[in-house]
């Protein structure tokens, strides 16, 4: 062979030359640290739309943190799910629940400097109630109308009593938008240049990459600790972990619990956890073999929820016995569904089933949608097998789950997570277990009759007591399998102070320097 013109030494020299720019930082050095006064959050979902009242994103609880940073809800929510004055300083029903009264805060301004007016409030409520407006929660907002303004006070006539109306004013689509500005720029113009009255205003937006916000100087509430906030949209959990480890972000959350434990042990990082208003559960559909009460109850009693939380979730979870988690308005700690495999066996025996002659059905689950979801169902199927239940696992996407649930076509058992940021029983037990609801898998008349009267119940104490009784009945009948309340892991740099919110929101206006 002809002697090659390239020696080993020259190859190494070339490689060294190529590596030089990297090693000397000619390519810009490490990930740029945020300038002082900037808080960078590695956020787990993208922001699809700026309008918090229309479409898919309006009913996505995960995006609400961003919305509540830019826009004000009618009513604010405290860290423990209780409600407190926001843009509305007072709200309430009249004695016979035929009218509502709202009082708007004085002195609040939009991001363009114009004042927030009662007309903005009325326009926002009317727009939300418009059947052609595309608001997914229109069915709530349409229950009040005929608004009248007197100074900063607004009154409205109750068309149909909705006990949770004011709770919705703190949650999905419950935002006040600027009437004059929106009408001037239109829906598309608003998407391109949105303004709100929240603590931060939009400064720059690169879709699927980042949202940069600047503190709103005219904000009515406490001045935020950071002048600039950057939400980096980092949807991949591994990338979010890397963001924090590389110093590219100051805060992140929703990361695997193993990674959380590893990161919080590192110097310079702090880990916080808090149970949030999101639970893991297994829907039971009222089809064979779940029409057999013994099978349902056995499926409940055979699951060791504590073992699942301890071993799969590293202890980050709170086992529950009803769809009401601790902190919810109708949580009743006296309702207990015990882990009792022997009881499960005896119940199955009454229906002629045993480990040798198991009852068979399918359980559907997501895989990777929630932490350890598939592994959890694998563990449950193992526990069931020991008592005489042979379940076949079928993996589905979350979009499939929604469609199957709406068509009442879920398998006999189907894993899901249910969020309830306002902690009301109607938005957990109510919608999940009331037959006519499109989100209900158990369509039995027994629950329709028990839950039905509670929708319009005007006596709040009676309503909550009613839901507690329904929860007790459901537990005794085994018509759903509540598993545990999720715990949210938050990792942040040392030097920051974050007050975790029970509704799971990461609000930059509540993050301060320690």
């Amino acid at each position: 062979m002809v002697s090659p013109g390239l020696s080993r030494r020259s190859v190494l020299q070339l490689a060294g030359a190529a590596a030089l720019p990297l090693s000397t930082g000619m390519l810009g050095g490490p990930a740029q640290a945020a300038p002082a006064g900037t808080l960078t959050i590695a956020y787990n979902v993208n922001l699809p739309s700026f309008d918090p009242t229309v479409g898919l994103s309006a009913v996505n609880p995960t995006i609400q943190s961003i919305y509540q940073t830019i826009f004000d809800p009618y009513i604010a929510q405290a860290a423990d799910l209780s409600f407190k004055p926001g843009l509305l300083t007072k709200w309430g029903w009249n004695a016979d629940r035929t009218k509502i009264t709202l009082e708007l805060r004085k002195g609040a301004t939009w991001h363009d400097g114009s004042p927030v007016t009662p007309e903005d409030v009325v326009w926002s409520l009317q727009r939300a109630a418009d059947p052609k407006g595309g608001n997914p929660i229109q069915f709530v907002w349409s229950k009040v109308g005929n608004y009248k303004i007197d100074g900063n006070t607004i009154t409205g006539d109750v068309i149909e009593f909705e006990p949770t109306l004011f709770k919705w004013m703190a949650f999905l689509t419950g935002y006040i938008l600027p009437k004059a500005y929106f009408e001037k720029v239109g829906a598309e113009g608003f998407e391109k240049a949105p303004i709100g009255s929240g603590p931060y205003k939009v400064d720059a937006f690169e879709r699927n990459a980042f949202l940069r916000l600047k503190a709103h100087p005219g904000y009515w509430g406490p001045k935020p600790a950071f002048d600039t906030v950057v939400f980096k949209f980092v949807t991949d959990p591994t990338s979010r972990v890397a963001e924090l480890e590389s110093g590219g972000s100051d805060v992140t959350f929703e990361i695997p619990y193993e990674e959380f434990d590893r990161l919080k042990a590192k110097p310079g990082l702090v880990g916080q956890t808090k149970p949030v208003s999101d639970i893991a559960m297994i829907f039971i559909t009222d089809i064979a073999p779940m029409l057999d009460r013994n099978v349902r109850l056995a499926a409940n009693h055979a699951i060791d929820k504590k073992a699942i939380v301890d071993r799969l979730l590293k202890g980050y979870g709170v086992p529950i016995s009803t769809l009401e988690a601790p902190g919810y308005a109708a949580f009743d700690p006296s309702i207990k569904v015990s882990y009792d495999p022997e009881l499960a066996k005896s119940l199955l025996a009454k229906s002629g089933f045993s480990p040798e002659k198991p009852v068979k059905f399918t359980i559907q689950t997501t895989r990777g949608f929630k932490p350890k979801d598939y592994e959890m169902i694998q563990a449950i199927v193992g526990m069931w097998r020991k008592v005489g239940i042979e379940a076949t696992i079928e993996v589905y996407e979350i979009a499939q789950h929604f469609e199957l649930r709406a068509r009442h076509a879920l398998a006999p058992a189907a894993f899901y997570n249910w969020g309830n940021a306002i902690g009301d029983p109607s938005t957990s037990t109510g919608f999940a277990m009331f037959g006519p609801s499109p989100h209900c898998a158990w369509k039995g008349k027994d629950l329709v009759e028990r839950i039905g009267p509670l929708w319009g119940e005007k006596d709040e104490a009676k309503r909550i007591a009613g839901y507690k009784a329904v929860d007790k009945y459901i537990a005794e009948e085994g018509e759903v399998i509540p598993l545990f309340q999720y715990v949210q892991p938050i990792i942040h740099k040392k030097g920051l102070k974050i007050v975790p919110q029970a509704n799971g929101m990461i609000l930059p206006q509540l993050i301060t320097q320690a």
């Binding site: 699927n208 990459a209 980096k232 609801s437």
Partner: protein
């Protein structure tokens, strides 16, 4: 490829795209997952669900939906995104340049690395060191782009934090652009500091896409070079006293390039497909990243628009590659 063949290929483009449109439209509506089911609030009645379905035009018969959508698409209106509330055409136009710039950079890196590896490998032909080159190519080829993305992210983002690992540009930088081709525009307008900032963000995702591609280019090119080097014309050149590097670069490489370009062109389309996961991992704002959200949200109009965009790109790329091969290979030019 003769003119007749070129015209035939061009004429086939509209029916091909129509076929893609029909398949995508029908498939989306057959596979489980309904965008309306995903936005049904708790407590919605059947009437509420019907109202939402009508709002998004999904209450019409399938054929009517297709006729409406395709009729509008012919005039450039691909509908409005269900999740993003904006016109699909505008959304795709705004994001496509980011993906094209990334793919272009990845291709340049892949070609440069592949060419260098092939030339080094052929220079070391028959020696033990050739095994190292072949082994390196094998490793690069065995690891898929998304895995490279994770490796590079952990290596240069966390272990040796040299480069940013998310986004297309630093959120702290205040800069405005006239087009969505940020990198090209900043280079053309002489804003090299901005171009460098953009490159910092693009290097890792581009490398992740480029490494398997580079390995393929290297392997094909090295094989072609070896075959061409054994041909008579190369032997004659050697007998006439030309040095080996001269023979390789002047005589052997032009002939060896033809199969590499042909297969490399196909690989560029695969590289574009690879942007979906790689953009996601690096939170890069291209159409790949957007496509994942569109699928998760069952955003039918956006998915349809994005797939038609990908299909158009694939067709255009394949045509361009065929033309390039024709230009490189006189046998094809003259029949």
């Amino acid at each position: 490829m003769r003119w007749g063949e070129i015209i035939r290929r061009l004429v086939l483009i509209p029916p091909t795209l129509f076929g893609v449109a029909v398949i995508v439209f029908v498939l989306l509506r057959i596979v489980p997952g309904d965008p309306i089911a995903m936005m049904i609030p708790p407590g919605a009645s059947p009437a509420d669900i019907d109202r939402l379905r009508a709002f998004y035009g999904l209450d019409q018969p399938l054929l009517q939906q297709f006729i409406t959508w395709f009729g509008q698409a012919l005039s450039g209106n691909f509908g409005r995104s269900i999740s993003l509330h904006q016109r699909v055409f505008e959304l795709v136009l705004a994001r496509l340049p980011a993906t094209l710039e990334l793919a272009l950079l990845a291709t340049l890196i892949a070609v440069a690395l592949g060419l260098a590896a092939a030339l080094i490998g052929i220079q070391l032909r028959g020696r033990r060191a050739e095994w190292a080159v072949d082994g390196g190519i094998g490793v690069l080829l065995a690891i898929p782009d998304f895995l490279w993305a994770l490796i590079l992210l952990l290596l240069f983002g966390v272990l040796i934090p040299l480069l940013p690992i998310s986004g297309r540009i630093d959120p702290e930088i205040d800069v405005s652009f006239h087009s969505n081709f940020y990198l090209i525009e900043s280079l053309v307008t002489g804003r090299f500091d901005v171009a460098m900032a953009l490159l910092h963000h693009m290097i890792l995702p581009a490398l992740a896409l480029a490494l398997p591609f580079a390995a393929l280019v290297a392997r094909i090119l090295k094989t072609s070079l070896a075959e061409a080097e054994d041909q008579d014309y190369a032997q004659i050149a050697r007998a006439r006293g030309f040095s080996r590097p001269e023979i390789l670069l002047r005589e052997v490489l032009p002939n060896a390039l033809i199969p590499a370009v042909a297969l490399g062109g196909v690989q560029v389309t695969l590289l574009l497909g690879g942007t979906v996961l790689v953009e996601r991992i690096f939170s890069y704002e291209g159409i790949g990243n957007m496509a994942i959200d569109a699928v998760i949200n069952r955003d039918f109009p956006l998915i349809q628009g994005l797939i038609l965009t990908f299909a158009t790109l694939f067709i255009a790329l394949n045509l361009a590659v065929d033309l390039l091969v024709t230009l490189l290979d006189p046998r094809l030019r003259h029949g």
